[in-house]
Subunit: 232 residues, 2 copies
């Protein structure tokens, strides 16, 4: 188990021998998980707003977020509540976000790429324990900086794997587990001071944040393969 | 207060408005602190073994460490015990290390560059509170990766500054403080699993590590200025 705190650091890790678990809990990977759990057929992550626009022009349902807000010209951003509405059932959604999709596009070479959030942490633990023997958590962070919330998810899943006999000498993973231990029984309070909570709270997204803090709401494992995310 | 976990991330921080506190507690900044506290006149950090050799050829006392060991051809590495021997009193020591000096050389533009370790954490707290109003902790890490021990020192000093009315919204600083809270009353146990402790323990450096874990042994503040480190 290793934890890569930000996409900028990914070159320090050897992805080829590992499953890579991408985490952007506020809100991209929570939104992807909620959307697929609600019957969306697939989520296609793209790096730029321009690509999302091109898909939209071709008739795709497209969602775009920058700086926490829905990008002008789009009806959807990365709200897990909005993306999991029943009307999207069976559809493909193209998604670009500030940090999460950027992280996803840096996973080339990994044995398998898995999408995680608090919403599906135990499902990811079980899946990793069954199908893999090593994992690198790739936290999306914020503009290449470390953030508390993605690290806490990595810590939660690491503790779950530890309970299944996995272990680590990676200091980032040890730190993530310690931080999760502190956070787990007082999540909203722990996250209160985190920079991203403050940032999104100011944008009126408190309902989304509360949704993203729910643990094990879904027993599903989204996997990113050949440019698209579907349920395994 | 902000914490930069590794030298690789330093470009994400604006050093110009801040004091920068460099931390490589196992062992470069502990060694520098102990040496200056013991009467060494100055420590001149250099980036490469070749530069250290050139200084040595000119008659300087030179110390070089790579991968935890003294580099062949040198009598000293970065052991705080060795560098603080009485025989070095009044001398200049040229020093190159795997991670610590590399971090020091990435501080260009900072308002002031301060050297910290557990050995002088309270002295650094007091100095920062008196002379500065912002600080970026630059942790040396290990080969550009995050490490627990440097982060714990950053957390210790951050908690000290918090007690003096400073505050932060930097997630890295919040994480560092949480990790220090966990570590402070059981430092050897907390550090036991850390990758670097394992690495150095295998090299027979347990005495050095125990020395580096001592808190507030010295009431001094080493400052790096014009290519050399001296007491302020």
């Amino acid at each position: 188990m290793e934890v890569c705190f930000t996409p900028q650091m990914v070159s320090l890790f050897d992805l080829r021998k590992s499953a890579v678990v991408v985490i952007d809990v506020y809100r991209a990977t929570s939104a992807i998980t909620a959307a697929l759990a609600s019957g969306v057929k697939e989520v296609i992550p793209v790096g730029t707003v321009e690509e999302a626009k091109a898909y939209k022009a071709k008739g795709f349902l497209a969602a775009a977020e920058r700086k926490g807000a829905v990008v002008k010209g789009f009806d959807l951003g990365n709200s897990p509540i909005a993306l999991s509405q029943a009307e999207h059932k069976g559809k493909s959604i193209v998604l670009t976000t500030s940090n999460g999709t950027k992280a996803l596009l840096k996973t080339e070479g990994a044995k398998e790429v898995i999408i995680a959030s608090f919403l599906n942490e135990q499902a990811v633990v079980n899946y990793l324990a069954e199908h893999h023997n090593n994992v690198i958590f790739l936290c999306a962070g914020w503009k290449d900086r470390f953030n508390l919330e993605d690290t806490a998810v990595a810590g939660a899943i690491s503790r779950g794997l530890e309970a299944k006999g996995w272990h680590t000498h990676c200091d980032s993973a040890l730190a993530a587990m310690h931080l999760f231990d502190i956070a787990k029984d007082r999540m909203p309070e722990f996250m209160k001071n985190a920079s991203h909570t403050t940032r999104l709270g100011h944008l009126g997204l408190s309902d989304d944040l509360a949704f993203c803090n729910r643990r094990n709401e879904y027993n599903i494992v989204p996997v990113y393969e050949n440019g698209t995310i579907r349920l395994k």
